[in-house]
Amino acid sequence: MARAAQKKRKEPEQDEDSKSAFAEAVRLEMLSDEEKHEGKEGGDEESDEEVDEFPEINAESDSRSDDEGDVEEEGDEGEDDEGSSPSDSESDSISDIFPKSKDIISEVTGHPKRVYPEIEPEYDSDSSTEDDPNRVGNIPSHWYDDLPHVGYDVNGKRVLRPAKGDELDKFLATVEDPTSWTSAWDKNTQMDKPLSPEELDIIRRLQAGENPDGGYDPYGPTVEWFTGKGKEEVMPLSAAPEPKRRWLPSKWEKQKIMKIVRAIRRGRIVGSKPKTAGDKPQLYDIWNEPPSNQPPPLPAPKPALPTHVESYNPPEEYLPTDAERKVWENTDLEDRKHDHLPQKYSSLRLVPAYDLFIKQRFNRQLDLYLAPRIQRTRLNIDPNSLIPNLPSPSSLRPFPNYCSLKFTHGNARVRCISTSPDGAWVVSGDDAGNVNLWEVNVGREISKWCFDGKIGAVEWCPRTDTSYFVVGTEDKLHFIVPPNLPSVILHATQSALAPAALPPATESPIKWSSSPGQEDGVILTILLPAVSGLTKQIAWHRKGDYLATVSNRESQGSVWIHQVSRRHSQAPFKKIKGAVQLVLFHPIKPHFFVATQRYVRLYNLAEQKLIKTLMPGIKWISSMDIHPSGDHVIVGGYDKKLCWFDLELNDKPYKILR
């Protein structure tokens, strides 16, 4: 409403302007531009009008009209309107848009105030009767963007779009016309319209972030509208009766306070204690009461006390040489044995400050609370006392330390050797199948037997009343009686190996065949099963009646126990775990040791069950023997270990020798 009124008020002036200066089209444009501009400035105008609406403003305007003659104002305007030059018209229109305000002293309040010229409700001010230069009406112009006309006039005729120059014209216009860069396209009038200096000023102000109103004074004096002397409001704004809460004490507040009071009375709320008392810790004899019966915590270990090295004036010999100093400086902080180099000062006053003291204390504290502590008992013993007291090797003399006899064998390798129980004879077997009998005293070969294939084992019978030995070859065992025996022994041997009355034959895959008449001394042969392979070990029982053999084919029938008196052989194990390396008879009990590659098993032959498994921890067992008492076993291995088992202890070695 207000805007429309303004528009109407201004239009006649514009009309006159344009009439005098421009052609019709131009005038039309000017006018429309003006209108648009007004729209822009609407805010300002509105504020002005709002001011108008205040009763006081009215009063002011009244007073103002009193001060300055309306006529004079009119006259001014009239003069302006009549000015014919375009520049004049611009300034004129400006003066219309922004009516000049005046600061005057209000008669009523006695304060300075700004007064605007009054709007004359004349015929001029009403534009409704004017013909609108915009003949197409207030329609969105983009409707006709792609049409040759811009709309229709009142009579329904097309209003054609004014001719636009081509690009060259546009360019020429920018070159020739100095105001072209301050002009803007107006859609309503369809042409460029130069901006007025006021508009430019507004643009500049907006750019500078100032108030767009040129006349606005940000530092103007405060205007007290409702406060100050003489402006006190006496009458109440509202006629409502005053509520009760204004003059009655609050019930809820009372309840809350009573709650706190009760809490204080009952001691639930305690007032803050006086500050001075609690500041210092109260000291008393803390160790007066008897200590608790719990064990006290272990005290922390003490750091080492300083030694001569740390003296400020150490003996000369503690001072490092240059080389030592260099070495110390080049070692890392962690690797240094001492954390500082000894240094000598001739006088106490020359000793400098020790910079790392705080660091040292800190490290100590880190040790105290971050380092894990291990409880460890220290051994204070002579290291030599750890070594067992062995008899000196010199006390064990004489050692066999020179070669007394040498038996020269054939070309083949000797694989096995055995001495007779009386120690007078030695029998040896080699890879070529030769078995030689030597006399120990003279070192002479007494006799020689030839067999097919390698000789795996040779063992003399431990019986002293007889004299024979057993030779193990491929799948066969030969019992041989050495030549030149005393007749008593020879007889006993023959009766033991080839008795006149043979014991009843038993069912066995093994054949005992005696050939007593042979001259070469092979008195008895045992044929082992064909696949059993080379006999690699022969173990006699202490009494000389039983012997056990181990063959190198790792099948189930590798171990056999033969009984000479009954001419009976049996395989003690149906199945055995691992490859049997060695077997051994217990000297007293009916026990039988079987060594596989890694374990030694002890079987009870009478009860036919496993007693225990000895675990020597050797990679590959090479040898085994038992003490005549039957309690101690030693087991040797190819990995240079020797284990000593006490059979009364557990299955772990009592001692391991390396």
Binding site: Y354, R378, I656
Partner: protein
């Protein structure tokens, strides 16, 4: 078949707890956990197998006993720490909102905790506490000399310096032996490495009822102004320790003072303190017992002192034999400082005689006799201004001397420089001849002894008054040796050079073995004669004489004969050694792995110690006899043991 054992339900998996698990269980921050650990004395443990303790993981973590953590969980201080956390949130909220009055109210009800019960738990008896105050005193003295900053408040520093002064005051005051107290006991060892604002760090060992045993100056000097906070030092940790130590020392001093019949805390004269009187600003007052202490209190106190004495007696009885062993052995195995694990070997304490041992002290008492506390009582000292007054005032007064100082070192000196009673002047500057001395001054100079500060300290360590001439002003001082001695078998600088010379003299000819082969061959013929003579036996003096005669008959010179004999002897020794070595090797074969390793470790330690002694011997030899040393060095190039610095 019994129940199946589940993994992680028993044994190490239950007994140990990782640190993060502990923090989680206690529901506190890591910083609070550390704080608790420091206050309660809980430290990590090393499980036998980290894998078993940590669910099969070998990640590097620290482990705590689960029981220790359970013990921490019941700690009232932990609750207080939680309350403090809530308080910190509340107050920061109030401050952020600008609610000053609420913030002030909150500040007034700030949760605080007391450490009395922790002190009681950690130190069951007074003896336990006394034994552990060396670390505490070090920290107190350190902080007493530090500047304050935003983390370390001036009031804290002031409290530390007060405690330090109280300690010194007590030691100075109670130098008179307490009747009935076994004087040869030493069970306190505080003040290690440090003194109050002292010119130098010093080591003071004090035994029962605060008797100074030994003083030792080392290079770790500490000038007041030179202390700085290091970047690598976590002040939080130090402050937590300090908190504990302040409380501990408070209670200890209270007990010490009250047992000595003194008022604790000793009143401080502010005006004298301002004038720089130092310890003199404190005054010692005896308690008038019938007024201040009730009868029952009195009974309790005497009982407790008796207990203390009893405890000390039991300590000596137990320690005299056992602890020495332990100590010596711990020194035998003395690890490198870097090996933290090794360093913290806890000496086990038996069940009945539960008072744990203090090996260092025991060894001290073995090696040193006690210094009479009235060592300096006939003398009066005057400290010249370049000496550290606080240290020497403390030392001299503790041993009964009178001491004065110029006003530039602070006020409160009982005597002036012109006092006739002064017997010793402690100066630390070169001699300057004054031209215009009055007769009186000359006379005074003649009467007094001018000694360097080291004299005082060496006198205390020696337990007697040493000859002053060695320490006279301007002379080169004799070496200052540590009273704490070394490990048994370590190099002793006080032993004369004779021993080392012998050693070296033996060593030198050995190096001749590498003589030119030609010479050896030339002597072969001669040597043959001797050998034929001597091979039978050189041991007997008679046979040696016979051999000598035979050699003379063969036309051999006496010098060459002797040489040959020595050579033969050495050869024989070598052979014997080889035989011994063979026997040792055989013995070693019989050892179990564990024992063999132990044996080798012990042997290694022995060898290293021997090398150290030899090194010092060599140095001493070098110092005393540079020319011979050079010759020797040329001969035994590369033979020298590696430097240990």
């Amino acid at each position: 078949m019994g129940r199946l054992k589940q993994k992680g339900k028993a044994g190490a998996a239950k007994a140990y707890m990782t640190r993060s698990a502990a923090v989680k269980k206690l529901q506190c921050s890591l910083a609070d956990f550390r704080r608790l650990c420091i206050l309660k004395g809980i430290f990590p443990r090393e499980p036998r197998s980290r894998k078993k303790a940590n669910k099969g993981s070998t990640a590097p973590t620290s482990f705590y006993y689960t029981k220790d953590i359970a013990y921490l969980a019941h700690e009232p201080v932990l609750n207080k720490l939680r309350e403090h956390k809530a308080f910190a949130k509340k107050i920061s909220r109030a401050l952020g909102r600008g609610e000053w009055s609420i913030a002030k109210n909150l500040e007034d009800c700030k949760p605080t905790y007391r450490l009395d019960h922790i002190i009681k738990e950690r130190y069951h008896t007074f003896i336990d506490a006394i034994r552990d105050i060396d670390d505490a005193l070090c920290m107190i003295f350190l902080f007493a000399s530090l500047p304050s900053n935003d983390r370390v408040s001036p009031s804290l520093i002031a409290n530390c310096s007060r405690l330090a002064a109280e300690w010194q005051l007590y030691v100075m005051h109670s130098r008179f032996p307490q009747e009935g107290l076994p004087l040869h006991q030493r069970n306190i060892l505080p003040g290690r490495n440090h003194g109050p604002g002292c010119h130098l760090a010093r080591t003071i060992s004090v035994y029962a009822e605060s008797k100074i045993v030994a003083v030792f100056y080392n290079v770790r000097g500490t000038e007041n102004t030179a202390f700085r906070y290091h970047q690598t030092v976590d002040v939080r940790v130090m402050l937590t320790f300090l908190e504990l130590y302040q409380t501990l020392l408070g209670f200890v001093f209270f007990k010490l003072y009250t047992d000595a019949g003194l008022v604790y805390p000793p009143p401080l004269d502010a005006s004298r303190d301002d004038a720089g009187a130092g310890i003199g600003a404190f005054s010692v007052h005896t308690v008038e017992k019938n007024i201040h202490i009730s009868k029952s209190d009195n009974v309790g106190k005497t009982a407790s002192t008796r207990e203390v004495r009893q405890a000390i007696k039991t300590i000596t009885a137990d320690q005299s034999f056992v602890d020495e062993d332990v100590d010596i052995d711990s020194r035998d195995f003395a690890p490198k400082p870097s090996e933290v694990d090794e360093e913290f070997v806890v000496h086990p304490s038996g069940g009945e005689d539960a008072i744990p041992s203090l090996p260092t002290l025991q060894s001290l008492s073995e090696t040193r006799k006690s210094t009479p506390t009235s060592l300096f009582s006939p003398y009066t000292f005057f400290l010249s201004r370049e000496t550290s007054r606080t240290v020497f005032e403390f030392l001299i007064k503790s041993f009964g001397g009178r001491v004065g100082w110029p006003t530039s070192s602070g006020s409160g000196s009982p005597i002036t420089e012109s006092d006739d009673s002064i017997t010793h002047v402690i100066v630390d500057r070169p001699v300057i001849n004054k031209a215009n001395e009055s007769a009186e001054e000359k006379e005074r100079r003649r009467k007094r002894k001018y000694v360097q500060p080291q004299w005082v300290v060496d006198c205390i360590n020696a337990g007697k008054i040493l000859v002053e001439d060695l320490y006279a002003q301007g002379t080169t001082l004799p070496p200052h040796l540590s009273p704490f001695g070394g490990k048994p078998g370590a190099y002793d600088p006080t032993v004369g050079l004779s021993h080392s010379e012998e050693v070296l003299a033996e060593e030198v000819p050995e190096s001749e073995d590498g003589q030119s082969s030609e010479q050896n061959e030339a002597e072969e013929g001669v040597g043959g004669v001797v050998e034929t003579v001597n091979v039978r036996d050189v041991d007997g003096a008679e046979s040696l004489r016979a051999a000598e005669l035979a050699a003379e008959a063969a036309g051999m010179e006496y010098g060459t004969f002797e040489k040959e004999v020595r050579k033969l002897q050495r050869k024989r020794e070598k052979k014997e050694k080889a035989v011994d070595q063979g026997e040792e090797d055989m013995g070693k074969m019989l050892l179990s792995n564990k024992k063999r390793k132990l044996y080798e470790r012990m042997k290694y330690g022995e060898k290293r110690r021997a090398a150290e002694v030899r090194l010092n011997d060599l140095s001493a030899f070098r110092v005393s006899n540079p020319l011979a040393a050079r010759n020797f060095a040329e001969e035994t190039e590369g033979d020298r043991p590696k430097a240990t610095w």
